[in-house]
């Protein structure tokens, strides 16, 4: 059911995009210096010769990749990372063509060359690594708990006998059943319904990925708090088609600079309404303990 809704939203957005042609990439920010041309025949050289980079981002995920209906521009953390990469290649953060990449089409988009990079809240895992290459980790999401401000629940170990809400058919449901088997898990059609039930005093906690919970918390900061840290690890990486080591290297260098210079925290602060943590370490296997 949820997939259909997403598809419909996708179709509507695609239609809207087709109806109004995208504005040309601005040249306002072209103050930096372009990097030297890469070797002939590489993906990076192709990007350089084209004069812009094609990036797949989400259009419907708040804080990461969201199409602003008034400005008709995509905004978010993923988009800002894309701009940093464009600035590094061309000296111009706006030399980007955005394409909507939903979870279903983003890997095919890379494989058939529709996009050069995918920056769309994509969790790195071994299965996906068989299909595409990934940059180092640029963001670390994870499942967490949203509870009322006065709640005594401080971690996933405090959930025995507690009523915990999440969405039907989510990985969050499977995780919470595994990690807090004594919790009374109640399943709603969506996360908004679960938060409403908690607001009515019917739930002790709502659980899913922290970047979704942060959105609810930011809307009503006097009511809710996030507790328990991240008890699952969802390391996000930038996807690149297989066989382009020079592009992976270039992206990793941009990410390393972001993390080192403090710019990473700046982008976090700009998009996500919580205190920025330290940037994640590079290696996803180290993060998830594989």
């Amino acid at each position: 059911m949820k997939v259909w809704r997403l598809l419909m939203v996708g179709i509507v957005i695609a239609g809207l995009l087709a109806a109004c042609t995208a504005p040309p990439a601005g040249t306002s920010g072209s103050t930096g210096k372009a990097m030297p041309k890469a070797a002939d025949g590489t993906l990076l050289r192709k990007i350089q010769d084209r004069g812009k980079i094609v990036v797949g981002v989400k259009y419907d995920v708040p804080m990461f990749g969201l199409l602003n209906p008034t400005s008709n521009k995509v905004e978010g953390f993923d988009v800002d990372v894309a701009k940093e990469i464009a600035a590094a290649i061309f000296g111009n953060p706006d030399a980007i063509e955005y394409k909507e990449a939903v979870s279903k089409n983003r890997i095919p988009f890379l494989q058939d060359g529709t996009v050069d990079l995918v920056i769309s809240t994509m969790t790195v895992n071994a299965e996906r690594e068989g299909q595409i290459d990934f940059s180092n980790v640029y963001y670390l999401a994870g499942q967490s708990l949203l509870v009322p401000k006065a709640s005594a629940i401080a971690s996933i170990n405090d959930l025995a006998g507690k009523k915990v809400g999440t969405a039907k058919g989510s990985t969050s449901e499977q995780n919470i059943r595994k990690m807090a088997p004594k919790a009374d898990v109640q399943l709603f059609d969506g996360y908004a319904e679960a938060v409403a039930a908690m607001d009515a005093g019917r739930l002790d906690a709502v659980t899913t990925d922290d970047n979704i919970l942060i959105g609810f918390q930011a809307k009503e900061p006097n009511k809710w708090k996030l507790v328990g840290g991240q008890f699952t690890k969802e390391p996000y990486g930038i996807g690149i088609a297989k066989g382009h080591p020079e592009t992976v290297e270039m992206v990793n260098k941009v990410l390393a600079d972001l993390k080192k210079s403090g710019k990473w925290k700046e982008l976090y602060k700009k998009n996500i309404p919580t205190t920025p943590p330290e940037p994640p370490i590079d290696n996803w296997r180290q993060i998830v303990g594989q």
Binding site: M1, K168, Q186, L187, A200, R202
Partner: protein, 214 residues
Amino acid sequence: MNAESWNLLLRIGLITTAGLSIAAGLISLVLGTVIGIFRVSPVGPLRVLASGYVEFFRNIPLLICLAFIFYGLPKAGITFPIFEAGVIGLSVYTAAFVAEVVRAGLQSIGHGQIEAGRALGLSYIQMLRLVLLPQVFGMVIPPLGTVFIALVKNTSVASAIVVPELMYQAEVIAGRYFYPNVFLIAGFMYLIITLPLALLVNVMEKRSQIGHRR
């Protein structure tokens, strides 16, 4: 796929759906009969009250009724447990339809009988109990049957307020095991409840007709 936990979930669902139907059926029968009587009562304020009730609950979606009890009432300090919230929502909603059936039954009885009852010195309550209601319940079995079959199917709406009935379990299974055919199975399980109910209504209808012919 774990067939065992599937089975268990569907069985819990079937029992919960049956429980919801029976509890809400009994409560709405009693409540609806009282409201139906009020609608044709000689006391004006009772008529107004009953009409207001029927028109309100008959003309709002059941989902809104359930959501109000589940999400809204707790804000006023009234929190019913999940199953009870489902029973109450379904009962007050279905009672409006029962009341209309009972009212129609009462109004179809000839005025002569009421006059005859008055002539015999029966009070209004006695008249209802001894003369009107026994006839009404014979007559209204078919429309009441329709109301209760609709009630059984309406219990599926309670899945939205996490009552663990059949529809809820089917959605959980579909999401967890990526098995959408479970809705087909759930559909057949509703028939397990509704078909015997329909048969029962038919049998009762025949019996009451025989009674009339005598």
